[in-house]
Symmetry: C2
Subunit: 328 residues, 2 copies
């Protein structure tokens, strides 16, 4: 059956509030650099008050991935819960105007659209503080069976394990995808997120995931061993596992083979927000085009390099034109 | 009397929605490149729907100027009308967290915070579509006499002549400032804005303004003659007139003298949004420190160069550190 979509992403629909801070700001607020932590509405308000002026951009891990997929010219859909408010309108606009099918019913409960307060330090690291807002209302009823059946790959972020109903949505989507002979992909999202949900993630990787994305912190957190050992443990569990290691490149395990793909050169790393998300965009776009594992890895590396070369987590240039230029 | 504030800015409080478009997009929508046009709520919604994904940043001409004043380490206050909504919260946060005194009561009428849809083309030009929203509710009752009396300079954007009540606010503030022995400054904002309000602007320049900012399009529109002739006509009308000409630098007329100040070098012009606003930041910060006209012009040029070297209309780096580096 031909598919209407290459990739459908399911994730927490979040608007990022990006700002530059000194390392001292993180220390003052007891924040762990490079990590994502969950905060409630009051904490969000209090932290925001103390933050320097910012810039707002649509974000969310799978949302960023889908923006990348669209920029690569692939066909995408997205499932995520915003509220009927200004930031929800912004999020929906940025999805739809990018060419992504996005029809999840917005929340009417009065809980606002989710926000992530992203603190970027001078070393280009980002520290994320997420208020999940309306995302906690995402549930299995938000999964459109037709869309999942019509997608070559259904891609989900590990962060979906944080709100209560989203994991049900995830499992429902995975079941529908597999019943339709489609692929299921997961990003482990964040080392601390893996800590919170290790047992369930181990089960997911073992039984539900065809294409796994994890960085070094995440895969070592999953198996609680060093990188080489973790790579050996995940081998064979999924059809593909893309294990990314920042400037050291990525190891791609594919049907028993292993490929080392170097990182793409970047003149200046400005803000690492979205690196993993955009890696997944490139890899999945390549996968759905039937490219080789090494080519998928190269595509991932190119997209990640673009997004870390500027401020913000979504591409600022046409990724399809960039790929055309670099890979012909 | 010592002043509590160096500069108080009065303007339309606007959140910018920035996006990259091709020249064809402007042509399709009949937009004049480089200009600001006013649109209503319906037009804003319709244009937004057709725009590519964007980024939201606090904007507004005088708002941008005040962000620059604060970044230069000068003390500022701002008067402008937002609504009690998410974009209004963003605007207020960005002002206050930048160190600006901002206590204008927000609108509760249900009219949303103003938005400017900024379309940036490949040549770094910006084309602006402004929905004034809650700004139309700014009036003389929003002028805090104490703040104006306590400000060395009260700075206003010509765009205030577009909403109905704001000009009353402007004239009230100008009267209070002069009664307190303070200075009044005006930016002519935009050539088409000058077209809309020429007679009133001519009167303002003649009778109310001590420090005038205008680019080439604006000053030639004001007097409907060429640049040299316009410069001759404005000479002597105000204490200072800073006439900016993009990469050709600026002519500063000061108490009968004239200074040519070259533009600051920019490695790559990315987005000209905010160039004039930030020029005013530098000039006014210098003026309130008692610097010479040529030094004020240099400060203006440095700040303008910073803001056109990146996407968006507010500084991305500490302007005081930048000035320290370049001027010692």
């Amino acid at each position: 059956m031909t598919a209407q979509f290459d990739v459908t992403g399911i994730g927490n629909a979040i608007v990022d509030v990006l700002t530059h801070v000194e390392d001292a700001f993180l220390a003052e607020h007891g924040l762990v650099k490079g990590a994502m932590r969950l905060i409630d509405g009051e904490q969000a308000e209090s932290l925001y008050k103390q933050m320097p002026p910012g810039v707002e951009c649509s974000g969310g891990s799978a949302g960023n991935t889908m923006a990348g997929v669209a920029s690569l010219g692939a066909r995408g859909a997205y499932v995520g819960k915003v509220a009927q408010d200004q930031l929800g309108d912004v999020f929906a606009h940025d999805m739809r105007s990018g060419g992504i099918h996005f029809e999840t019913a917005p929340s009417k409960s009065g809980t606002p659209t989710a926000r992530c307060l992203v603190l970027v330090t001078g070393d280009a690291q980002r520290t994320m503080n997420t208020y999940l807002g309306a995302c906690v209302e995402l549930g299995p009823e938000d999964i459109d069976e037709d869309v999942i059946r019509q997608s070559k790959v259904t891609y989900m972020e590990g962060y979906l394990w944080d709100p209560p109903g989203a994991k049900e949505a995830f499992l429902k989507a995975a079941r529908i995808a597999h019943e339709a002979g489609r692929k299921v992909s997961l990003s482990l999202s964040d080392g601390f997120c893996v800590d919170r949900h290790r047992a369930e993630f181990l089960d997911l990787v073992e039984h539900h995931v065809d294409i796994l994305f994890a960085n070094e912190a995440e895969i070592t957190s999953l198996y609680q061993v060093g990188f080489e050992e973790a790579a050996a443990l995940v081998r064979g569990k999924c059809e593909y596992a893309a294990l990314t290691r920042s400037e050291k490149g990525a190891v791609i395990l594919a049907n028993g083979d292993s490929y080392n793909v170097p990182a793409e050169k970047v003149a200046q790393v400005v803000d690492t927000t979205g690196a993993g998300d955009l890696y997944a965009s490139g890899f999945l776009a390549g996968y759905t085009q039937g490219r080789s594992p090494a080519e998928c890895g190269r595509l991932g590396a190119i997209c990640a390099a673009e997004v870390i070369s500027h401020y913000g987590a979504r591409p600022e240039t046409s990724l399809s034109a960039l790929v055309q230029e670099l890979m012909g």
